[in-house]
């Protein structure tokens, strides 16, 4: 009998990579990394470390295949051999019989390094032309004429910061050598397919010699999409060279210092409108801090371009974006994938416009909300009125007109504790923007006893994909959930997996599962018709039973047992690729998304105008979810994503010193929201229309909730606090209590 994933978690029975039984003769790994952000590595002296009992030290020279783990661009060595490009760049792998000895040995290694001046600022990198590829540009209409004719133009800058993933399970891999030069890797990765490919490349093996399995992840949020690979391939290298199992688990500080974050962006915007607040033209340039290597930066940049106009209809648009190379650990995927930076920038521009025109932000938002028939700069057209539906529903059901009035009235007499309320509309495109990644395969295996196992391309990381897969299969066969279990994600069961990312895990694997179940069910019905000599057209499937025309009932167990004995295949491997997607990067036009999701949030805050602290009191959301496959999971994704977005906007801040050391490298200094700082929430899901791209008309929900939390920045409002001084100092996240207090009392310290 199979139980819910969450029940295993609560009972303490779930196994994460670090919980797997340690094989006999296992070696434990420590990684020696670059102590400088920029420099040349002349020599690694590992004699003292190697002299310790049982210690093996592996460097770039020991790599049998290519010393290369770049995925989009081949610009990333597994182990540095000459150029050091960030603090934390691995340059040696130390293996020993215990974790403690491995770490002690790693400390014995001395390095001959020539340090150079690092570039740690995105503007500096841009000025020096340190970029990953050329600047890209999405255009629509004639922005030059529109700006020339506009009654009102605002312009300014927006800085959106880095964010630490702080997944509770740190990066971890257990690598086990098998016969025939094979390896089995248990990796805490969102992207087992990529780890298989890169391990083969580094070890000069065929992909069929490497099996990658992911039990589940203790949180990922994008941080294990690309950046699990270094640690997984290092463990694979160690196991391959020593022919012993190798376990590599980063400790918290290592993980926070050495792995990439959400990309900081510097944006310059110009927004034109008429005197009534109708948007006419938007011109924006995004400089992305990609960090040391390309990683996923160019893909993330692309999503920034796609979401530059978010949920608004703007006649003329000119969006430019470029990814810049700095000496930070390579920045990487994080829930939202470049969209938060784009969406926040336009919200800032709207805020700026709202002050200039003296029209409330929400009125500008409402007036410019995108409508069916609107064509995005990249060529897709909006086909549904779901956004307006979300807006209207939120407005009416949550009494927003009344609440805006109440806030104004409350603040009228300048009380110490003042209220604020902000709206955020959202439009988010669903698909990998790299079209080829929109594919998945699933095995549905029915066993002789009637129980069902599912192997799918998606990794379970708390987003509930395994519960959704169970729900889909249960619904197809009309079986109770307890018959259905989802296996660990494994590259031998579902080959060539794309990363579990882009909010599409349950769409892609779900559609494949639906297909597999439909095929098996049809096969079973045809078998039953033949076996029990019935007309197949008269058979009915009801509540996990096959009803024959004569009224007799074949129950599930009998059906499966009989089919097995009659040599009918009870398994199916199904493959799904999202249809009709394409994108032409020479023209920056195409049809990149299967569909868009829409939602609107309202966020209430209370500001203590004496101390500058504030609380986020309430969030109301309406979101077009389609048909929910698991209400608990979808609700959890919405509520959790919102709080993560609110954390990014209010609290979370990474600090570096001038050499590039992360100063906020532990929970004590990098703060994430806790229960008491999370607001109350009311989540309202609507189903606007059927969705052919989601199983049973479900829609994606992984990333969009994060974006609905960003509006908290605007809630305190300018009326009583100057900290949103967009036109002068520029907009800047997060809105910490420090920024609020210094904004409230700008003259206090003069």
């Amino acid at each position: 009998m199979s139980v819910r994933e969450s029940e295993l978690h609560l009972a303490g029975l779930s196994q994460y990579v670090d919980d797997l039984p340690v094989p006999e003769h296992c070696l434990f790994a420590a990684v020696v990394t670059s102590p400088v952000a920029n420099g040349i590595l002349h020599h690694i002296n590992a004699d003292a470390a190697r002299a310790l009992a049982g210690v093996t030290v592996i460097t770039a020279a020991d790599i049998p295949g290519r010393n290369q783990v770049g995925d989009i661009l081949p610009d990333e060595r597994l182990l540095a051999d000459y150029q050091l490009n960030f603090l934390g760049k691995p340059l040696a792998l130390v293996l020993a019989d215990s974790q403690q000895i491995a770490r002690q040995a790693a400390q014995q290694i001395t390095l001959d390094i020539e340090a150079q001046e690092p570039i740690l600022d995105v503007l500096n990198a841009y000025q020096r032309n340190n970029t990953f590829g050329d600047e890209r540009q999405f255009r629509k209409g004639d922005t030059a004429s529109a700006f020339a004719a506009a009654a009102c133009i605002v312009e300014g800058t927006v800085d959106t910061p880095a964010q630490e993933h702080l997944y509770f399970e740190t990066q971890a891999t257990l690598a086990i050598p098998l016969d025939g030069n094979r390896l089995k890797l248990y990796s805490a990765s969102q992207n087992p397919g990529s780890i298989q490919k890169l391990s083969a490349q580094v070890l000069q093996l065929d992909m069929n010699q490497i099996e990658v399995e992911v039990p589940r992840l203790g949180g990922a949020f994008g941080g294990k999409e690309e950046q699990a690979k270094t640690w997984a391939v290092l463990a694979a290298l160690g196991a391959h060279l020593t022919q012993r199992p190798v376990k590599l688990v980063l400790n918290r500080q290592e993980d926070m210092r050495w792995t990439g974050k959400r990309h900081p962006y510097h944006a310059k915007y110009r927004l034109a409108a008429d005197n009534d607040g109708n948007l006419l033209a938007y011109d924006v340039q995004f400089l992305q801090d990609g960090g040391a290597v390309a990683d996923l930066s160019t893909a993330i940049l692309e999503r920034t371009l796609f979401h530059a106009t978010n949920a608004y209809g703007i006649p003329s648009v000119d969006v430019k974006a470029v990814s810049c190379r700095t000496h930070h650990p390579s920045n990487t995927a994080f829930r939202g994938f470049g969209a938060p930076q784009a969406i926040f920038t336009l919200e800032c521009a709207l805020d700026h416009l709202s002050q200039t025109l003296q029209i409330p932000r929400w009125q500008l938002q409402q007036r410019n909300l995108l409508q069916p028939g609107y064509r995005f700069d990249y060529g897709m057209t909006v086909t549904t009125a779901a956004l307006q539906e979300c807006w209207d529903r939120l407005w009416q059901h949550r009494n927003l007109a009344h609440r805006f009035a109440a806030v104004a009235q409350h603040n009228q007499h300048a009380p110490r504790f003042r209220k604020g309320l902000a709206i955020t509309p959202l439009c988010f495109g669903i698909a990998f923007t790299a079209t080829h990644l929109n594919q998945a395969s699933v095995n549905v295996n029915i066993y002789q006893d009637g129980s069902i196992g599912i192997a799918c391309s998606a990794v379970e990381m708390g987003q509930g994909v395994s519960e959704k897969m169970r729900a889909i299969v249960a619904r197809c066969f009309e079986l109770p959930l307890e018959h259905i279990r989802v296996d660990y994600t494994n590259s031998s069961k579902t080959p060539n997996m794309s990363a579990t990312a882009a909010s599409v895990g349950s769409d892609l694997s779900g559609m494949a599962a639906l297909q597999a179940c439909t095929t098996i069910k049809q096969r079973l019905l045809e078998f039953a018709a033949a076996h029990w000599q019935q007309d197949v057209a008269l058979l009915r499937w009801d509540n996990a039973k096959c009803l024959l025309a004569d009224g007799s009932i074949i129950d599930w167990h009998t059906l499966i047992t009989t089919a097995y004995l009659q040599r009918i295949s009870l398994a199916e491997h199904a493959y799904y690729a999202t249809p009709d997607l394409y994108f032409d990067r020479t023209r920056e036009q195409g049809y990149p998304f299967a569909y868009h999701v829409f939602g609107v949030s309202a966020i209430d805050v209370t500001v203590d105008c004496l101390l500058g602290t504030y609380t986020v009191d309430q969030v109301d959301v309406v979101y077009d979810l389609g048909q929910s496959l698991d209400n608990n999971v979808d609700r959890g994704q919405m509520e959790g994503g919102l709080v993560q977005g609110i954390g990014y906007s209010t609290l979370e801040e990474i600090r570096w010193d001038e050499q590039g050391h992360v100063l906020t490298d532990r929970f004590a200094t990098y703060k994430i929201p806790d229960l008491l700082s999370a607001p109350r929430m009311r989540v309202d899901f609507i189903a606007s229309a059927s969705n052919p791209h989601g199983p049973f008309s479900a829609k994606a929900i992984g990333e969009p909730p994060f974006l609905l939390g960003l509006g908290v920045y605007f809630a305190p409002g300018r009326g009583h606090a100057q900290f949103q001084s967009g036109s002068t100092a520029g907009y800047q996240l997060p809105l910490t209590p420090e920024r609020v207090l210094l904004g409230l009392y700008p003259d206090a310290l003069v």
Partner: protein
């Protein structure tokens, strides 16, 4: 070698971090560390220091901040201890309730949450939702499934709290409900289960460093790697956590802070201590941290220092009694001699017209280290200040009393605007620095605003409301 009980059975342990002992030596992988510094609550376990008593007490503590050597004759209960109560283990009604509420997403932190909730059900006072949320606020969740956790607390308040409130003995009731195992009351006193000890490689590699004497270790283990360093934790005093004697209030410097707060509440003394304790740290940390440790660590942002400074506390050590004003000699420095232990804090009982305030501002409003903190002590008669004492932490190398300002305030009507006065006195009285928690200019401004906020609290309610920001 330490003798303790683990999930009902006696066992022995070499000295090592408890979390490491549980996971690596005993293969109890349900207890997981995410932060290893007492911040996230993921590794919480239930701990009793009187397991053989007729009615043993259990509290949730973070296993990353404990060493096995400090657990002689203690009883440790991990999530695995709850796995045999129901078949299958997942059928435990608490797990079901939490799963139904959506309180678990990636699941890494879930066992710690279970422990925190059980701690609340065992030891909470009112067992209402407000208290429940506060007691589990030391459990961070990066999937941020806090709404699910809130729903779970609500369900517990509705379904379980009524019978527990009436229960003369909560542990017994929870054992009867099959929520907790019977061996929590009657641990096996048979021979030790020393499985796994012989295979341990790490035991011999422990460096023999001179041991520091520490309080609960909740500060110490943030700055020292518990796998590398040694420290001898003071056993919490067996005497009561607080008492009144001869017009003096005695606070036990070696008792867990939470115990001091609870005892003060029972004694109806020093009401500010309740909100102070809440602001101090999360519940599992409060179950270990002591006033003595907080003072001896002498951090510029130590929350207890400003409070004890305005209370003019006397510090009774193992060797002498000195004024709190003599205790601190510089940044993280005290007048304590080697081996000198802070035993008691003596506070003159408050006059009836006294009010004491404590406030702390941190990046995250709860369970965070202060950017700055402030305590103040006021005696007001006929709307005039008779006596003011004000102390600010986080704005100087050590927390400071603002004696000059206090003098200025004496005899002032409480309706006076003191903004300029406070600002000018702070010019020289404090000397803040910039660090990751806040800039120097922010700290300077914050110090002023904290004092103004306290001043405003002296006003009649309707006049407290307005701010000229």
């Amino acid at each position: 070698m330490t003798r303790l009980w683990l999930n009902g059975r006696a066992c022995s342990a070499d000295d090592k971090p408890l979390l490491e002992f549980l996971r690596q030596q005993r293969q109890l992988h349900g207890t997981r560390g995410a932060c290893h510094e007492g911040d996230c609550g993921s590794c919480q376990i239930l701990l009793s220091d009187n397991p053989l008593d007729e009615r043993p007490q259990f509290h949730a503590v973070t296993s990353c901040l404990l060493r096995t050597a400090d657990l002689e004759q203690h009883h440790v209960v991990t999530i695995e201890g709850l796995q045999h109560l129901h078949s299958p283990a997942t059928a435990h009604p608490l797990f079901q309730l939490l799963a139904d509420a959506g309180a678990s997403q990636c699941g890494f932190c879930s066992p710690g949450l279970v422990m925190a909730l059980l701690n609340w059900l065992l030891n909470g006072t009112t067992l209402d939702t407000t208290e429940g949320e506060r007691w589990i606020n030391g459990n961070l969740c990066r999937c941020t499934g806090y709404m699910g956790q809130r729903r779970a607390v609500q369900h517990l308040v509705q379904r379980v709290a009524p019978s527990l409130r009436e229960s003369p003995w909560r542990l017994g009731t929870l054992i009867d409900m099959q929520w907790l195992p019977a061996w929590m009351q009657f641990p096996d006193t048979g021979s030790a289960d020393d499985h796994g000890l012989a295979d341990d490689h790490d035991a011999e590699t422990m460096p023999a460093l001179p041991a520091d004497t520490i309080g609960g270790g909740t500060d110490y283990w943030l700055e020292h790697d518990s796998a590398q360093a040694c420290a001898s934790v003071l056993a919490p005093s067996t005497e009561c956590a607080a008492q009144v004697d001869n017009a003096l209030l005695y606070l036990n410097a070696r008792s867990p802070l939470q115990q001091v707060a609870t005892t003060l509440q029972q004694l109806d003394q020093l009401p500010v201590f309740q909100s102070f304790t809440e602001a101090f740290a999360s519940m599992p940390v409060r179950q270990r941290a002591t006033l003595g440790g907080n003072l001896a660590h002498a951090s510029p942002v130590a929350d207890s220092i400003p409070l004890l400074l305005v209370l003019d506390a006397m510090v009774q050590t193992s060797q002498r009694t000195l004024s709190i004003h003599e205790l601190f000699t510089g940044f993280k420095q005290t007048a304590l001699q080697a081996g000198e232990i802070i035993e008691w804090l003596l506070i003159p009982l408050a006059e009836p017209d006294t009010s004491v305030q404590f406030d702390k501002v941190s990046r995250r409003p709860h369970t965070d280290i202060a950017v700055a903190n402030a305590a103040s002590y006021w005696r007001v008669r006929d709307d005039r200040v008779i006596e003011a004492r004000i102390a600010i932490g986080g704005a100087s190398p050590m927390p400071v009393r603002l004696f000059a300002l206090e003098n200025d305030l004496k005899n002032l009507p409480i309706t006076s605007d003191i903004t300029t006065l406070v600002k000018s006195r702070l010019q020289t009285a404090i000397n803040p620095i910039s660090d990751v928690r806040g800039s120097a200019q922010y700290r300077r401004l914050l110090a002023r605003q904290l004092i103004l906020a306290h001043w405003q609290q002296l006003q009649p309610t309707q006049e407290r409301q307005h701010v000229r920001a």
